[in-house]
Symmetry: C2
Subunit: 229 residues, 2 copies
DNA sequence: ACAAAAGTGTTAGTGTTACACCCATGA
DNA sequence: TCATGGGTGTAACACTAACACTTTTGT
């Protein structure tokens, strides 16, 4: 199917032989727990990096779309299916995998903490800012994902993909703060959220302790990440 | 080198066979001509899509970094080496190439029109907003690149990669306008550029016709794309 | 003198930031 | 009544957008 000319197309620069590649899809799955932003990791069951923590992911099947593979590996590592998934970046350093040439088409995924399932024993949630040493270049992939997520907070409604059906504004603010890594002004935050018109009060409220109950909000268009501003 | 377990890792979801893939790097090379934004295309010398216009690019060699491959294919199609290149997106629909499964790690590149070389006969510049029908999914790739470029004008100094050593503010404004596809206010544009502090007057000026000569500017830190605002 | 593009400031409006107190509840 | 987090408005500032005339040159 592949003509010899295709494999030697680049005669101008000398002999360049096109390779056959393994392609992996690795996924950075974030969730917002009570106190911190967490990332799903799995212990690698095989060499190389046997027993080392790594991102969920693995080889792409021959007829599989990229995002479908990312979702399949996530499903396997966590039992989860309905998630927000987007392509992040493709990591392809020739020496990134000691077994040979493997590209990784990394994806960024978000999970509502409340809809998590019980994890298989080899998977666990880790605090996003205190990860163990990861296999391969997975540490770099997580950093890239964190930057992307923080950047997207500024101009999209992506953070809502981390929120449950009903939530308070303080809860939403806490999620923003754990992603951005710093405190936000309460009044300004609430003004901005209202201006975006992406959430609406349900009318209900939630008693959360020895203090005034908080209004509950819901997402106006769930499942839809809008670009704003 | 690849254990059988690796190729059949996903037992939970049934038999999934990891494939071997061809990987291409295709490049959307933009340049700012006098009147319009242009994209470099090449005529495919081989089936499929024999004789059809396509993006410069081709298969990745076995030990080659992704960006290096993008630069190699550009060099071959245009004789050009010193360019701005960044990864754009990875296109991987299983049916995107009739020959079989080929992923394309698309790149966005920028060239100063003044430093173009003479093209080989199979390559040509086309107006970015009036392209012919392209091979494969290359039309979609160009659209993605156009969106990325326009978005990056808003928060980075990437447009300077399209400018020659010395240029006038009107020239720079024309480049912004051809990317964004609409007119900008002259005074506001100049104010913004000055605020960014990414260019400086050379002291020289340029006589361009029956009118007042324009001051020439240069880039303060050439080769460096800054994120601003 | 005319045509053609270069160059230049001000104002109104909009969005952003900083900041402090009262409210409703449970213990 | 006290502790706790929920909820609210305003003023200064910065940024953006709209807008028109004078300058310098070549013909």
């Amino acid at each position: 199917m592949w003509a010899r000319e295709d494999e030697l197309e680049s005669l101008a620069t000398g002999m360049v032989v096109a390779g056959d590649f393994k392609v992996a899809t690795d996924v950075v799955l974030f969730t917002a727990r009570e106190e911190d932003l967490a990332v799903l990791l799995v212990r690698r069951p095989r060499p190389p990096f046997d027993g080392c923590w790594a991102l969920p992911g693995g080889l792409l099947a021959v007829d599989e779309p990229l995002e479908a593979a990312a979702r399949r590996w996530l499903d396997e590592a966590s039992g989860l299916r309905k998630l927000y998934v987007e392509q992040l970046y493709t990591f392809g350093r020739p020496d990134r995998d000691p077994r040979g040439r493997v590209l990784s088409v990394a994806h960024l995924a978000l999970l509502r903490w409340q809809s998590r399932a019980t994890l298989p024993s080899e998977a666990a949630w880790w605090p996003a800012r205190a990860l163990p040493v990861l296999a391969l270049d997975h540490g770099e992939i997580v950093q890239t994902a964190l930057c992307r997520l923080a950047a997207k907070l500024q101009y999209s409604t992506i953070a809502l993909q981390l929120m449950p059906d009903r939530f308070t504004l303080s809860h939403l603010q806490a999620v923003y703060e754990m992603i951005l890594g710093g405190p936000l002004d309460k009044r300004n935050f609430r003004k901005r959220m209202q201006a975006l018109r992406c959430i609406e009060p349900t009318g209900e409220s939630w008693r959360g302790g020895n203090h005034r109950p908080a209004r509950l909000y819901r997402i106006r268009e769930p499942g839809c990440v809008e670009i704003v501003k």
